[in-house]
């Protein structure tokens, strides 16, 4: 088990290296005169040159990249060009916000999606059609459109929630809950649609397996077979979908945070992109890629727990 985790971590580190190299090279090769961009058109050429020198941009690309890489390994991703704040500090203060949103959404998605999927698979008929219609709508309509709709209806018209703002989870749980409810609903609907469709399909397939009949012939009730045996077998494919959804949610959160004015990674991602703040963009790329790597390892461990054939000794 430990060896498996170490091996996956190593593969993850290699992947991170490749991703950050590609991103670094493309970002700097694609960028124009960075000093000019920061100082604006009115600045003198001397000031621009001085800025470029100060940022180390007069150095050749490869040594600069190796320097960045070495510093990154010690946890130093440089400082933002526009706010002069260290990149690590800028990201960590906001990472928890985004993660609390995304993890909360993932949990809701897993629970509601599984429940809906099982319900549709068991009842078929009207329940099945309802879940399928919801799946189509949830899959088709983008999360931020749902977010706009929710703000309009529940915050502006019904005044059940505040339209914007955020309370840290560590400050107050009810406060956090009231500020993340609408964002989580907006984010989760699409993900729930995918999970429900997946769970529905794999439960129906698994219920057709021969061993389901045999277990029932032993005197186990249909519900017991369903919840103890079928769900566990159907869980593997659903987990794979959940992993994909998590990555998608991480991206979706960036837009939804903008709508609800939540101080997560979204606003700095948007600003740093618009300004061309490359150190911050690089930091965001590395952090999200690292999260994806970790999530995939966790999902693989969970999958091994569910499925003995996928288990690694």
């Amino acid at each position: 088990m430990l060896r498996f985790i170490l091996r996956r971590l190593l593969a993850g580190v290699i992947l991170l290296l490749v991703v950050s190299s590609v991103a670094y090279l493309l970002l700097y090769l694609g960028a124009g005169d960075i000093g000019r961009q920061i100082l604006g058109v009115t600045a003198t050429q001397e000031a621009v040159d001085a800025k470029n020198t100060a940022l180390g941009l007069d150095q050749p690309l490869i040594p600069r990249f190796l320097g960045w890489l070495g510093a990154a390994f010690t946890g130093n991703f440089g400082t933002s060009w526009f706010t002069s704040q260290p990149v690590v500090a800028a990201i960590t203060s906001r990472l928890a916000v985004t993660l609390s949103l995304v993890i909360g959404t993932t949990i809701i998605t897993a629970v509601v999606g599984t429940a809906l999927g099982v319900w549709a698979a068991r009842k078929r008929g009207a329940a099945d059609r309802l879940v399928q219609i919801v799946s189509v709508l949830g899959f088709a309509i983008p999360g931020f459109l749902i977010a706009i709709f929710l703000v309009n209806v529940f915050a502006l018209n019904l005044k059940l929630f505040k339209p914007t703002g955020f309370v840290q989870l560590s400050v107050s749980f009810p406060g956090w809950l009231s500020t993340v409810t609408l964002p989580i609903i907006a984010l989760s609907i699409g993900a729930i649609a995918s999970i429900a469709a997946q769970v529905r399909g794999s439960v129906i397939d698994t219920m057709r397996q021969d061993w389901v009949r045999t277990l029932r012939s032993r005197g186990l009730s249909e519900n017991r077979v369903l919840y103890r045996h079928v769900l566990r077998n159907a869980g593997g494919p659903a987990l794979a979908v959940l992993a994909v959804q998590f990555v998608g949610l991480l991206g979706g959160a960036i837009i939804v945070e903008q709508i609800f004015a939540i101080p997560g990674l979204g606003p700095i991602a948007t600003n740093s992109t618009a300004q061309g703040d490359i150190p911050l963009v690089m930091g965001l790329v590395v952090v999200t890629a690292a999260i994806v790597v970790v999530v995939n390892i966790v999902i693989e461990i969970l999958h091994g727990f569910l499925n003995p054939k996928a288990r690694i000794s």
């Binding site: 992947l15 991170l16 490749v18 991703v19 590609v22 493309l26 970002l27 694609g30 960028a31 709508l137 899959f139 088709a140 309509i141 983008p142 931020f144 459109l145 706009i148 709709f149 703000v151 309009n152 057709r208 397996q209 021969d210 061993w211 009949r213 045999t214 277990l215 029932r216 012939s217 032993r218 005197g219 186990l220 009730s221 249909e222 017991r224 045996h229 566990r232 990555v247 998608g248 991480l250 991206g251 960036i254 837009i255 903008q258 991602a269 948007t270 992109t273 061309g276 490359i278 963009v281 965001l284 790329v285 999200t288 890629a289 994806v292 790597v293 569910l306 499925n307 003995p308 054939k309």
Partner: protein
Amino acid sequence: MSESAMTSNPPVAAEVRAARSHLARRMLKNPTGLAAIIVLALIILLAILADVLAPMDPSVANINDVLAPPSALHPLGGDSAGRDVLSRLLFATRFSIAGALWAVLIAAVIGVTSGLIAGYYQKWFETVSVWIISVIQALPGIVVLLAARAVVGPSLWLIMAVFGLILSPAFYRLTYTAVVGVRNELFVDAARVAGVGDVSIIGRHILSVVRAPIIIQAALLAGIGIAVQAGLDFLGLGDAKLVTWGQMLSDAFSRMYQAPTLLIWPSLAMALTSVALVLFGNALRDELERAAGKPKRRRRGVAAVAPKVATEKPVTHAEAQGDARSTLLEVKDLVVGYDQPDGSLKQVVNGVSLMVRKGEVHGLIGESGSGKTQTAWSILRLLPAGGRIVAGSVVFDGKDLAGLSERDMVKLRGRRISYIPQEPMSNLDPSFTIGSQLVEPMVVTLGISKAEAKQRALDLLGRVGLPDPQKTFSSYPHEVSGGQAQRVLIAGAVSCEADLIIADEPTTALDVTVQAEILELLRDLQNDLGVSILIVTHNFGVVADLCDRVSVMQNGLIVETGPARAIFADPQHPYTKALFEAILEDGAARGPLAHSADRNTVTVRSTVTEKSAR
């Protein structure tokens, strides 16, 4: 979906073309498909005709029309800068759709090409592709796009091209699996032998197979493309010179308090397009699956033309004298059928009657499709979805199981009636240890403790002849052989001390040597426990080995029944005789007096029957 399309018959080009035109025609007959096509066609038409239809220039601002209400001049009002909302909506449709199509086009070109190359030639190209994909997918698409935006600036086309690259793995995978599935098919080999060039093979045989799945994928990805493009514009990262739905949303959102209706139009346009795209993809997939033949619908069973209980009586042999054992199970005029989607009923058992006494082994013999397994399942009331007992009774120990509630049936299963399946490897839950699958039913049905159940399970595993019960107990199903798995299933069937065991071809899936061992085990257990067994088989050898009485089944009906001895001595029904001929020839093959010439023909025949038995 793609697989079912691929594994269908080898597509000859003409056939494929015909199938495709059928598919298009069926899409137009499918109500969802037709609605989606109409909506999409209208939207595309509006996008193309934007400059004709738009009443004004979408970027001309008029200070007097800021947030203007709908009027004759501005049918949908004015936006935050006083621009005409209707005109903007029309042009936004054009650019949003074009952006999404552009991304899908890029994705399809990259994905399909690389999928074809990787699937057809494999080797290093495949390895490289897999690596590139894992790098692409290491980041959420939005993050990659944000980084790309930092490099290429706010160009709609460049950013959507990058998004196309991100989407391309979807097409790659689709094409790759299709190609790998098809490339080793005989008809591709034949084409290659016939000297058809690689390019021609790819074009004719492979692209025609993946075309429809690619269209489905494209429809779904176009919806995602629209959403992502709008998302970027909504964040203010798009090209401010172009008007898109995202731009309109962003503008409307900033004026949400003053003019909430501004949000409606771009939202509606986006939602309508996205839903239409998804419904189009779904409808096409449904039609494609229907075209490939109904996947895995109830396969067993013969379609009965006569829907009523058949009246002809089976040939009945006189009972052996002095058999005073009382009746345990009596099936009378059992009719089993499956409800069809069109509301009709497909009958698979047409009025079966049979009787099993206490302590007796009763053989139910017939060829596959004769309805014997269906009969066995209906006694357990474990028919597959859609199947039900239509008429008749199944009286077990005085109770009619046909009318029993599921709740009471659960109490009966395992404890009174148990089951040995045909295919051992597929009848154990792959996710649980063998031990836990034996312990769980005992704890539930017998109400004993886990520790006690474990001890019993270990004893049973030893009793059914497994050399190392402890090891088997903690093994997973994939870690044991088929013969061992069947012993485990037999142990499970006797674990709760049932009075009747229904054994559905318990030896068919096993090697010949193992078959004999399993039959011997069943005979031993039956002797020791005095349990009744209803054994379903197509093999008279099994009947001769085990059974006291036999019922011969054909086309959902019992044609001959009676004591095994009597039937062996004097088979009456032609079908019974035919079944006998096979086994007698088999027997002769082993006999020392057979001519060598006979032996040859017999060997051929017995391998044939063996194969057909699998």
